[in-house]
Subunit: 294 residues, 2 copies
Amino acid sequence: MTDNLQQFMATEIPLMENTMYDLVESIAAPESLKEAMLYSLKAGGKRVRPLFVLAVLEHLQVEAKAGYAVGAAVEMIHTYSLIHDDLPSMDNDDFRRGKPTNHKMFGEAHATLAGDALNTLPFGIIARLDHVSAEVKLALINLLSETAGAEGMVGGQVLDIEGEQRQLTLEELIRVHENKTGAIIRFSIEAGALLAGATEQQRQLLVEYAYHIGLAFQIKDDILDIEGTTEELGKTAGKDEASDKSTYPSLLTLAGAKEKLAQHASKALHCLAQIPSDKKYLEDLTDYIVNRNK
Amino acid sequence: MTDNLQQFMATEIPLMENTMYDLVESIAAPESLKEAMLYSLKAGGKRVRPLFVLAVLEHLQVEAKAGYAVGAAVEMIHTYSLIHDDLPSMDNDDFRRGKPTNHKMFGEAHATLAGDALNTLPFGIIARLDHVSAEVKLALINLLSETAGAEGMVGGQVLDIEGEQRQLTLEELIRVHENKTGAIIRFSIEAGALLAGATEQQRQLLVEYAYHIGLAFQIKDDILDIEGTTEELGKTAGKDEASDKSTYPSLLTLAGAKEKLAQHASKALHCLAQIPSDKKYLEDLTDYIVNRNK
């Protein structure tokens, strides 16, 4: 990771996190529910999605305080999906990021409801944003509903579950990931463009960038499942191979998956190069995603 | 039920339902997911929440086509909550309205995800409404996020689960129901007021009406659990008493609960009387809720 990105993250992530925790702590809800919501929000993670929102704003050199709240909103959606994915009826995971999963801490009923609450809250957060026009707020809400729901993340999760039973084609695998992880990454990047008031040309380049970095992110995840250690990853390594899951390395070989990763990374950077900027955070974030070891 | 209300329902419910089914059928999502979503949406029910949206519009004598989509949105939220409530980790119900519950038909993973998708979709539906101002859309989204989430329905569900372990006070029981069922009923009624462009005085009277009819609805449910038959209700009667659950009759006696019901019904009608209208649907709907046998 470059010093540049490290400094950016050290400044921006705590600001986003404090906004996110405040947004949950300030609601009038049962304490036990807020505790379960905050437990998973505070369990860490790379905060990649909020970083995309904030790095796009920096790239376009627009200061928008609302970026923290929108970053918090997308991190809540991501977190709810992890809580539900970990449930016994889904992936049945006891640990996430080295800590007991939400249902192990609070029971299945509370975990289901904490996830539900984290699915609903972000829409209100966006509707109440200060200093953002009504049109931009509605565009953000429409985009979040589309990318988080049946047409995006939830649909991708369904395809993923149904794909576990059989060998997928590369085309099918791409479709799973475009939806399961790609859609919410697209939201994060396009949200930054919407908040910054990007031109239509800039927005289109960023959507194309999002497509490539979203797939690169997932291919890297698949490679790390083979090459990473359980300690580094904070989750069990080698799980995909053990469960005979279709992944980029299983369909393309490890070398083939690495080549694909390099191609998407190069295309992603090519998109960014067409939106000149003094700030290099988005380029550095791209390199980080491609080269990370966890 | 009056002929007046019967005719209103016979006209309006199919229009709302067709809008609702179209809104799901038209999305680009895996067929298996859409099938699970539509299964529970089509499983029937009284459609009380959309009826409130539509009856408020009629009461205020404003024609708003968006009422069908907003009614569909709130019915989706209600349906997602039923799918998740029925899960083995929550109420563990095998039947709902005389049909197998969603997870009995599609498995727990798909039921969880169908619920998640029905939680997310309504926000996009509202954001995309035609012929509704951006300000009203944002007010609706903000209200739905608040009433459906941790501060409303989901919070009420948490209080309900935690209350099962012990005897509640009347105050605690009211708090459960204000949130668990009352909040979404308030959304439905206030949504009608927002869509109709009600005056501030009308809106406040309708919010007060919503408070009383919401509690009346729940008290009637508790009474029906004692007096109704499993056949009429389409769900197991006598379940509350068998599980030693705190209810209005258990805290107030059956006669006391009926008196409370009559009080809230009378106060609800008093609010409506202060918003003179040629249309009597909302009065008739109030009487129906108080006097129904299922």
